[in-house]
Amino acid sequence: MNEKNTKHILSIMVDNEPGVLARVVGLFSGRGYNIESLSVSEVDSHKFLSRVTIVTSGTKLIVDQIKAQLGKLIPVHNLVDISELDSFIGKELILVKLNVKNKKKPDLKEKLKKFGAVILLESNHEFIVQYAGTPEEITKLVKLLKNTKIIEQTRSGLVSMATGTDYIKK
């Protein structure tokens, strides 16, 4: 039996109408599927279309069922399992607020710059840092900061795209 759980990135084009997110999320909770991350925003303001990216995991049977169930939602126009395409990338955004002593600032600035993170705001004892990367890269960043005091952090869900034609437009 093919019972192994695998991770999947689903990209879904939906009508941007009230309740559409509730339909998608309700489908997952109602049927006991897993949402690891979710992100959604309007991408076509003329046709009122939003693009939802969901990271989920399950056996092949379950993931096929998830896709078929999503495909049945009336506001869903198209759905692509990005993780099944040849060449794709997935990124998350993280904002971290750091508590830094003045004398440690230059050192940390240098470290962050090298890593590719950007300091958006700087105040007395604080940096607000932005970084976009794959989930693994973000984990690395958090590791890099393990000796720095993190006041708070917030992360977006994954957004993802594959090379080639616009397979999701319809």
């Binding site: 309700g26 049977l61 096929d64 009336i74």
Partner: protein
């Protein structure tokens, strides 16, 4: 082009959808629509006595005609009362459009009087739903609702209409020119490749069986015609699910009876032992498969369905063909004719001989009694005495429902209305009412249990008001029989709360609603009672006092496989029912 109020747009768009009847119940939030109903003559409104019953009546109407059933209710409690009905329609793929009133748009979210977030509540139990917040989108929402309800896999759609929207004005351009507000385009055409593969599977098999489901009925009478052709071309045996009964004539020798938990020995054994299973519009429900890992372990399986989410949901199959059944079956028939594939009888003799041996077990036999009416006997007599009238049969839920499926013979689609997926007690009476509205001259019988019938008994009042000659045939065993049966089998015969005490006198109850009440207590009187019932012009409740201890067999206990059937009261569950089995419903 007319500038109309929202309420008027509702009526106009219903007329353009060719709606002749709606089932409803008024209230504050739909008064403008009721006012418009009052002013017109094209749509007939049937006033039910409970909103749940309105949905079941619409389901009965829809299932017996193939049209969309329409419901109109008020906000708050009116709308929440429809939830069971909508869920029922969702589970059994019945096309229903439910219009609900809502508090005015500016009050939504304020916990206003009789406000309920019905769009939120019914999201998981409708195929789709709308809250209309802009009167210019109202007609689009209603026409979209009808389109979605009846196309693809049918289902219920709810349109929630705030009261202010009903009074605002907008231009109504008619159905053709109204822009739909949803993009929905179910694909109906199967892939030609798959048809070729399927015919190859068919000709390769030696022990085939068709497993036929409600999808054939959903697809329409034309699908039944194509199915019949394919059955005759191949000569293969078939079984049908509870929802599929009548898709293929049950009197035909190729039919082995219903399958599943209470299906026949021959049907279940054939499913277990076949080398090819062709699933035609059925969904491998747990009532069919039993323990999935032991379900027809050695067969190739083909699944024909319009809904991709039905594929490989619980059972893995070897070939899926996606599309409308009429189209699929027609293409298969054409392919077989064109390529001159033949299905020689001799190839299947061994298979049929085996099937005949299973048949010879005569699994539906029961012990006749001179003193007590056996429920099976009552239904056999009902079937024999009404067969020529081609009646419509609805049921409630329980043992009587299963016996009706086993002992009443349906030779045409759309004559059998039962709550399969949700198993809703209280479905049968309102469904019968809806069927009778659609077929005023035909014989409509609700085969009921004494417990279930009380769940929507208030509909006797609707039946009275519209002088509907609905017949209610109660198999009164003084128990929630199906519950008692499980308690006997699985819970050490501790009959916790399954005895029906303080039942009404059904004869007097009938009379109080202007109907005729009959009671039968002896086997010898059954025929006369049935004859009297069908000869009476008006509504009848026939209270058939049956053996309170009879159980429904065959039965596959939960968590067991098709070859572990209990065939009668003397069969015992082998060993303990597994814990896994005990938790199953």
């Amino acid at each position: 082009m007319k500038n109309l109020t929202g309420a008027k747009i509702v009526i106009e768009s219903l007329i353009q959808e060719n709606v002749k009847v709606i089932f409803g119940y008024p209230g504050g939030a739909v008064l403008p629509i009721y006012d418009e109903l009052f002013k017109q003559k094209k749509i007939r409104h049937i006033l039910v006595r409970h909103e749940q019953a309105a949905v079941h009546a619409a389901e009965g109407y829809a299932r017996s005609t193939g049209k969309v059933g329409v419901v109109l209710v008020t906000s708050g409690p009116g709308a929440t009362n429809t939830v069971t009905g909508l869920t029922d329609a969702m589970m059994d793929s019945v096309p229903v459009v439910c219009l609900s009133g809502q508090v005015p748009t500016h009050m939504i979210g304020n916990d206003a009087f009789q406000e309920a977030d019905i769009v939120g509540i019914t999201r998981p139990c409708t195929k789709h739903n709308y809250l209309v917040k802009d009167v210019t989108k109202l007609a689009g929402a209603i026409h979209s609702a009808f389109f979605i309800a009846k196309n693809g896999r049918p289902g219920p759609v709810l349109v929630d209409i705030p009261k202010d929207i009903q009074t605002f004005k907008a231009i109504y351009k008619g159905k053709r020119l109204t822009k739909k507000i949803s993009y929905y385009k179910p694909s109906l055409e199967p892939a030609v490749d798959d048809i070729d593969k399927m015919t190859k599977f068919l000709s390769d098999s030696k022990k085939p069986i068709f497993y036929i489901g409600g999808g054939v009925i959903n697809s329409g009478s034309k699908a039944s015609v194509e199915l019949f052709k394919l059955m005759k071309k191949t000569g293969f045996p078939c079984t049908q699910t509870l929802m599929g009964l009548g898709a293929f004539p049950m009197s035909d020798k190729q039919f082995l009876g219903m399958l599943g938990m209470h299906g026949t020995y021959e049907a279940n054994m054939a499913m277990y032992n076949c080398d090819l299973m062709i699933c035609v519009g059925a969904r491998f429900d747990d009532r069919i498969t039993g323990k999935v890992s032991g379900f027809s372990p050695n067969s190739k399986k083909i699944h024909l369905d319009i809904d991709a989410s039905s594929f490989n949901k619980s059972v893995n199959v070897d070939l899926t063909v996606k599309g409308d059944l009429f189209k699929i079956l027609k293409l298969v028939n054409d392919k077989i004719s064109k390529t001159n594939i033949t299905f020689k009888n001799s190839k299947y003799t061994k298979w049929w001989n085996q099937i005949d041996k299973w048949r010879a077990r005569n699994c539906l036999k029961y012990k006749q009694s001179k003193k007590l009416i056996k429920p099976q006997y009552a239904l056999q007599r009902l079937n024999s005495l009404t067969k020529d009238l081609n009646p419509f049969i609805t049921t409630e839920v329980g043992q009587h429902q299963m016996w009706a499926a086993q002992f009443i013979e349906f030779n045409k689609p759309k004559h059998w209305m039962t709550s399969g997926g949700l198993g809703t007690m209280g479905y049968g009476l309102p469904a019968a009412l809806g069927v009778q509205i659609a077929h005023p001259k035909d014989l409509v019988i609700d085969v009921a249990g004494e417990a279930s019938i009380l769940m929507n008994i208030q509909e006797m009042s609707t039946i009275k008001q519209y002088r509907l000659p609905v017949k209610v045939f109660i198999l009164n065993n003084n128990y929630m029989g199906m519950v008692r049966q499980w308690q006997e089998l699985l819970h050490g015969n501790r009959l916790s709360e399954s005895y029906m005490e303080s039942l009404p006198d059904f004869v007097k109850l009938a009379e109080s609603f202007g109907a005729t009440g009959l009671r039968v207590e002896k086997p010898g009187d059954v025929d006369d009672a049935v004859k009297e019932m069908i000869n009476i012009k008006g509504a009848v409740i026939c209270d058939v006092v049956v053996d309170p201890n009879e159980n429904c067999f065959p039965m596959i206990p939960s968590g067991s496989t098709h070859n572990q059937m209990l065939l009668g009261p003397n069969d015992k569950v082998e060993g303990e029912i597994s814990e896994e089995g005990m938790v199953l419903v």
